[in-house]
Subunit: 336 residues, 2 copies
DNA sequence: GTGAAAGCGCTAACAG
DNA sequence: CTGTTAGCGCTTTCAC
């Protein structure tokens, strides 16, 4: 582009005709600098638009006043968590760095360990990890997991009551008179997905409906896999009249597949999702779903993390927020 | 939390009984290391779960393979841009760091200069800046601005056709027979807001309707200010029958104010927003608005940036995407 | 009050 | 093939 190099502390020192040590003292408000020196240095800093390099500062200092949020990718769930985290960090004096390898690690288990290793110790004072696959990480710096793979462990966590949410979803379909209720399941390695499937099974069983294993197809939270699952469910001989998807993205994919097959939602197929991402309300028809208070989960995670970093007392390490059914237009009473 | 320190290259070297230089060579795949040494070091790295510190690596190297996205805050617009940027970075080999001071700098003009100064030169190879207030920044590293304050300058930019979008919005209201059309304007220092107001004025003038300055109230993209603006517009003697807000958030605020005043949307007041953030479809009633292809703006910005970093040829430095009217249920033909 | 020097974790010459 | 050394930008003793 051009040759303008970054302004460093040396440049400031040279222009102000002092040593870099003095500049550093001025920046950090240390005592023992003459007031006219302070003034001169500050003017040069303003002139040059100098700002300390985060990398260099982090490397030298133990505390950085930066908090990391680690995400596997930027999708609707993680960006909602982000908004909540940003809400909660406001006014704390911490800055926020979000880090993602952008699908480079993909589904690889343990991405969070890599990221954490790269940022922690240097660069951030603590981290919120979104949907981590392991929770036995331990790096000195405080860490809070949002919607972790494994259930509450040693690590501080924030999650939603997934089991109860699934019960609400399936209960709603049962109330509408549906009996053949299929499920597109989530990633089997994720605790939240297991809970959602568990709630589905338990609710059916409680209603004296035997669980038909052929009605449960793996969606894996992956559009392509979910598409397969929806297709095979909707083309089976005695196809289900209703479907519960382990997340909204899968439900929306199922909606597309239904449309391609000439099936109308909700007339021919009732559909319930999970998550209540903004996109679910934009679907045609708007998707009935289970709302997780995603943004609040981000807020609670960040608040907890800040307390841990500041070594303030915390009541509990495991926060569980309640889920809620949001009835929109993708469900209807069973036809026949 | 606990005492487990970060694993550094020294720890690896000690455990593998080699020098840190050798470990570095193994990590970076440099030639000149015995194959059994490589194997031993790699095993230790795996055992210890070592990963190079981003801060230290960045400080030493010119290239970091990390791209920065700088945002003033995480709100709907910036998170949509983020999703697009993430889409585009996939498969490029770059990692993504998003940086925000979380409102710490607030509305302070020049936040992007601060951030850039903190990250650029070290830490990132280039940056996408979302809604910057200045575009005369120059730091050696390539920078692409999304929806910048000032119009296309030297700096590569990606924006939407705001003027045309405003024409669409006001034209729609005119088509519905409205004549008293108010506007809640945006931040006067932002180019996009000026264009939106310009389009509003031009469309009215083209329809031979004199612009009534009392019908234009400052919203400043700020909920509190927008609330004030909506209130004063809706309580004036001869109140407008329609309103165009410079962004969706202001429009939604206006909707709330209307409800508080006992005014029904769209029966008593037609309302058009701008941006088409997901939340606009969730409003009651769903908001008619002008869609900016925000996500695509993020994609284009990232693609352009990657090309600039790789010093590949680019056709143009200024990308302008077209806006589109999305008719929902907050507008209706003028009553009387 | 001020500056010289060491060192945070890492990589890139350069010797051995 | 391997290790020693210098230095990225910064902060912090510790002399002067």
């Amino acid at each position: 582009m051009n040759l303008t190099r970054r302004v460093t502390i040396r440049d400031v020192a040279a222009r102000a005709e002092v040593s870099i040590a003095t500049v550093s003292k001025v920046i950090n408000g240390r005592y023992g600098v003459a007031s006219d020196t302070i003034e001169r240095v500050e003017r040069v800093i303003a002139d040059l638009g100098y700002e300390a390099s985060l990398a260099a500062q982090s490397l030298r200092n133990r505390r950085t006043n930066v908090i990391g949020v680690l995400v596997a990718d930027f999708e609707p769930f993680s960006t909602e968590v982000l908004k909540g985290a940003a809400d909660a960090i406001r006014g704390t004096g911490f800055e926020l760095v979000v880090y993602s390898a952008g699908g480079r690690v993909g589904e690889h288990v343990g991405w969070e360990r890599r990221y954490l290793s790269r940022l922690s110790g240097t660069l951030v004072d603590g981290a919120v990890i979104v949907t981590p696959t392991v929770t036995d990480i331990n790096y000195g710096a405080p860490i809070v997991a949002v919607d972790p793979h494994t259930g509450p462990s040693e690590m501080p966590t924030v999650d939603a009551d997934n089991w109860h949410g699934a019960c609400l979803a399936v209960g709603h379909l049962l109330d509408l008179g549906h009996r053949r209720i299929a499920m597109i399941s989530g990633r089997p390695d994720l605790q939240s997905a297991q809970k959602r499937e568990g709630g589905y099974r338990a609710t059916l069983t409680a209603a004296d409906i035997p669980v038909d294993e052929s009605l449960i197809q793996l969606g894996a939270y992956d559009p392509d896999v979910a598409r397969q699952a929806a297709y095979s469910l909707l083309t089976m001989p005695d196809r289900p009249t209703a479907m519960f998807a382990a997340n909204d993205l899968s439900a929306i994919t199922a909606m597309e597949v239904a449309a391609e097959l000439g099936l109308r939602v909700p007339d021919d197929l009732s559909l319930v999702g999970f998550d209540n991402i903004p996109e679910s309300a934009l679907a045609t028809p708007p998707l009935t779903t289970v709302a997780q208070p995603i943004r609040q989960m981000g807020q609670h995670a960040m608040e907890l993390l800040v307390r841990l970093i500041r070594e303030e007392p915390v009541e509990t390490n495991h926060i569980r927020l309640t889920t809620q059914l949001v009835e929109r237009q993708s469900t209807r009473a069973a036809g026949r």
